[in-house]
Symmetry: none
Subunit: 423 residues, 2 copies
């Protein structure tokens, strides 16, 4: 359990509450990632979130939830139910619960119209209906969808409605809601967080190295999270100013860096593929990838980085043995003698793609992603990752567990980490 | 938004509610997957879930939540806060809220002791404290952790407490809670769902085609969700037996298939890449992909399917123009005349990789994934997808919006859909 949120030293701070709307959430068809996203963002803004609740597409229960929330919180954020269909009840229910009838908002209508215009699509009556928002409310622009957000102020309280799809909700929060909260609710104690991201050491090992820091009392605490073969340490500091918070963070960060050094690949929003890209750009190096069992995933992750065309020259997914021989230069002898999933073939993939493409770094990956294709000697999850560069090559054997997608993901993490460590 | 939960015909059914406990949830450090898991399980058991809420590790707010829940629900499931530390407040708060003091439960203590014994570890005082549960409550065995679950019956209502870690909670629900609910609350109606997945038509279009079905009253309803460029229709039937539920579903499914025909690619857990793979296997066809802006994503998705080595021969990510010319056979003239992002180059990628690899289907993708690299004439999001096969080729222009990853994803959906429609 985290320690943050205990103690009484900030009881005068602003209280927020999230209400997630959608029967699909109550049926378990969808995991509520919006609640976690908003919770994290509110914490960073210095807003205390004390309640989150989910209700279905039911006006009576939603009304009750809104009333309860307004009774105990200063800021109520509603997500979902803003779509163009008759089931989307949020705007109408908020209107009723606050006594503010729905009226046509021209700024909202213009936003919806320009959304359709830019996509060369015809606007439907249902979408025009989305421009009706409660009286005296104001719309929040939605660049990526048709439903505008809604801000309603009732004396010293605010209700904010956002659409359910995360790709619409997230930018709207960043661009429209966060600045609004900061302005309306004035100076708040801030929670500043700093995430330190590591790869290549299991959680237990990282835990041992920083155990004392994980027990620090508030206002500055450290949490540990393992996720998709990375371990993240999150330093959280509460303070009156950003500067004060950053100062407490810096001291702890220094300790962590001293202890974990090389396994740290980045901070906060950094990704492993981004970190690898930054090193390649800095060293002015180019790379080509010949990946078999990962099937294009490493290339796809490397090219997720904007500007990757500067260093990423070519990805090859030589799935069949013939292609491995003909296009990447793997020898038929090695395939016969060692098998396609072998140290030797991984090395030849890496060296082959490097030579063929005349790049600085060649990466080769071969393995058994499963669930079929494993043998006693070569089980599912056996993966070889090799890297060729000027002056030599390296190759490593891994034994991963999990589903086909897990094995692919783990392999891509190992491959990206190998690039990072060897250039 | 889903329609289920409306209407009053099953108001006499049992009402459940989930309270998730943990400050880490309210700080957004953890996504609440337990709530979705439990919601899904309750739906299958025929239990209606009307509320889910989250509170931090705060006894006062948790007490309030428990009291509210008992006032409106028959079954209240609490998750989290059962650990051995002082922050774990669930057992004590439930004891107080129900007027049942904590007492040592010997069966719980034995469970905890045998957990430690089997792992050859010493039991701590904190863990022994976990054997104290409210009077007249009974423990639920936890095979994978130290915190026992708790079942408390108060007249005709039940409170069930489960530990937060999903790997402990899930088996405990299956083994200890599901049988309990079935027994205590008698024979319940089942909820059976059937998901029909479509691609290639916007949500508004699908909505128009099935609008009348979306308004069907319980016990058999239809919901619509748009997700990552797919539109899913979920048929939900409540009935006393699985057979009856399946019969109502079949009738509606038939109508939907008649109206949406070609845009349906699969059902329930089917994926688009899996559907494409199944067609390729059925037709005994092979495929190779030359993808530029998608950077390997299409190959990675195609190879996410177990057994894809039967049809997927090679993926190429010819990121630079030189590679496009040298290895896939795009002509320098076309690159010069039309630019790398053009109808012509997409076609040449598709035809080139098909010829070079001697496969049945060649797929070519080129576009501007952004956020940089766009121009007025060729904006970010402009993507060409081409397919070459015996007897001809097709190419389509798309204009996608969103982040670099969004554009890549949308392009991969369009490409997979093009394969599906053209073979």
């Amino acid at each position: 359990m985290l320690q943050a949120g205990r103690g009484s030293w900030y009881n005068t701070r602003m209280k927020a509450e999230i209400i997630s709307i959608g029967t699909e959430l109550l049926l378990g068809h969808v995991v509520n990632t919006n609640a976690a996203y908003l919770a994290g963002k509110l914490a960073c803004l210095g807003v205390d979130l004390y309640h989150q609740s989910t209700v279905g597409d039911n006006p009576r229960r939603l009304s009750e939830s809104i009333r309860t929330a307004l009774g105990r919180s200063d800021l109520v954020i509603l997500t979902g139910g803003l779509g163009p269909t008759v089931d989307d009840i949020t705007a109408a229910t908020v209107a009723k619960a606050t006594g503010r009838p729905l009226v046509l908002n021209h700024s909202a209508l213009n936003g919806i119209r320009s959304f359709f215009k830019s996509r060369k699509m015809r606007i439907s009556a249902g979408n025009e209906r989305q421009a009706y928002i409660p009286q005296l409310a104001r719309p929040i622009r939605n660049r990526l969808g048709t439903a505008p957000g809604i801000i309603i102020e009732i004396r010293d309280k605010s209700i904010i409605c956002l659409p359910g799809p995360p790709r619409e909700l997230c930018p709207m929060f960043e661009e429209g809601v966060a600045p609004y909260i900061a302005k309306r609710f004035g100076r708040l104690d801030l929670l500043v967080t700093r995430t330190i991201k590591t790869v290549g050491m299991p959680e237990a090992g990282v835990n041992r190295a920083v155990r004392d820091l994980l027990e620090l009392p508030p206002p500055t605490t450290v949490g540990i999270y393992a996720k998709l073969r990375e371990v993240h340490l999150v330093i959280m500091a509460k303070a009156a100013t950003r500067k004060l918070a950053l100062r407490s963070i810096a001291g702890i960060e220094k300790k962590i860096r001293r202890r974990l050094g090389g396994i740290i690949f980045g901070y906060d929003d950094d990704t492993l593929e981004g970190a690898v890209g930054a090193i390649l750009i800095k060293k002015k190096m180019t790379i080509a990838v010949a990946e078999s069992c990962t099937g294009g995933l490493i290339s796809s992750r490397l090219t997720d980085v904007s500007g990757s065309s500067k260093y990423f020259i070519r990805g090859a997914v030589p799935y069949s043995n013939d292609v491995k021989v003909k296009y990447v230069g793997v020898s038929r002898d090695s395939l016969k003698k060692y098998g396609a999933v072998s140290r030797q073939v991984a090395l030849e993939l890496a060296r082959g793609i490097r030579t063929v493409m005349d790049v600085d770094i060649g990466l080769g990956v071969t393995g058994i992603a499963g669930p079929d294709g494993g043998t006693a000697k070569k089980p599912v999850g056996l993966v070889y990752v090799a890297l060729a560069k000027e002056g030599g090559s390296v190759v490593k054997e891994f034994r991963f567990s999990g589903s086909r997608q897990d094995v692919k993901w783990h392999s891509s993490q190992a491959a990206l980490d190998m690039i990072r460590r060897n250039i």
